[in-house]
């Protein structure tokens, strides 16, 4: 099952960066994100999987689809990048992934043998815990960040032009 999900993730993420139509690239991104949610279900993190499906696959993809529909024609093809750029970027990606995979394979990971699952209530308690090892400060920072980005998005998108 994991290998099916891995193949889906890799194939669709490659299609998402090479497809010549923006809407199709967005759909391929959606499939990649849903397969990632499936991966989270597979390693038994149900809360993270549902957050992934709701926020990423539901919210972000819907936003990107709105942006595509507001800016371009659906059937419009985007220009392919020039050959030298493609070759250099491909070479950089291949060399980088080879180096990273080599380091991954040579590093001895000490896999833990106990397979306890953490419940959602533990995550909630830690997010609001202001004692040692609690996460209340980044939690509040993220809430301020979301508010600021909401206001900034409205201000930027409502700007009036004179021309």
């Amino acid at each position: 099952m994991f290998y099916i999900l891995a193949i889906i993730i890799l194939v669709f993420s490659f299609l998402a960066v090479t497809s010549s139509k923006v809407m199709r690239a967005t759909m391929y991104l959606l499939f990649t994100l849903i397969a990632t949610g499936g991966l989270y279900f597979l390693i038994d993190y149900n809360f993270m999987a549902s957050v992934q499906l709701i926020v990423y696959a539901g919210g972000i993809v819907a936003l990107i689809i709105f942006a595509v529909m507001l800016t371009e024609k659906i059937e419009a093809k985007i220009a392919l990048p020039d050959k030298t750029k493609m070759i250099f970027a491909g070479l950089l990606s291949i060399v980088g992934s080879i180096v990273t995979i080599y380091i991954l394979l040579s590093h001895p990971f000490k896999e833990s043998s106990n397979d306890i699952g953490q419940t959602v209530s533990v995550i909630g308690e830690n997010l609001l815990n202001y004692g040692e090892g609690g996460f209340v400060l980044p939690f509040e920072l993220v809430s301020i960040l979301l508010l600021a980005s909401l206001i900034a998005a409205i201000v930027i998108a409502k700007r009036k032009f004179d021309n």
């Binding site: 099952m1 891995a6 993730i9 890799l10 993420s13 998402a16 960066v17 923006v22 690239a25 967005t26 991104l29 990649t32 990632t36 991966l39 390693i43 993190y45 993270m48 957050v51 992934q52 926020v55 990423y56 936003l63 990107i64 709105f66 942006a67 595509v68 800016t71 371009e72 985007i78 220009a79 990048p81 493609m86 250099f88 970027a89 491909g90 950089l92 990606s93 980088g96 995979i101 991954l104 394979l105 990971f109 896999e111 833990s112 106990n114 397979d115 953490q118 995550i123 830690n126 997010l127 980044p138 993220v142 960040l145 979301l146 980005s149 909401l150 900034a152 998005a153 409205i154 032009f161």
Partner: protein
Amino acid sequence: MIQGVGITHVLIVSTLMFFIGIYGFLTRKNLITILIAIELILNSVAINFIVINKYLFPEKINGQIFSLFIIAVAAAEVAIAIAVVIDFYRINKSIDVEHGETMKY
């Protein structure tokens, strides 16, 4: 953890996804497709946090909380980026990056 699948297999998948995102970020010219490549990169980082949390430290939850923050930051980033894209389109009538020369000089 997944039966019969080691941590390196999952990490290799997320590494390949990261570099596919880098490739798309370097080659694309359309702003929305650049945004899609950035989403791929962020998503692969979130997979890394989750998998390392599950395989190496299953009694802790730090990886899950950090990938929650990654998802929240990605959502905020996409909201602003799409506002910028729409603004860009109204100024330049196109969303290709080479048409944006208003702030060049």
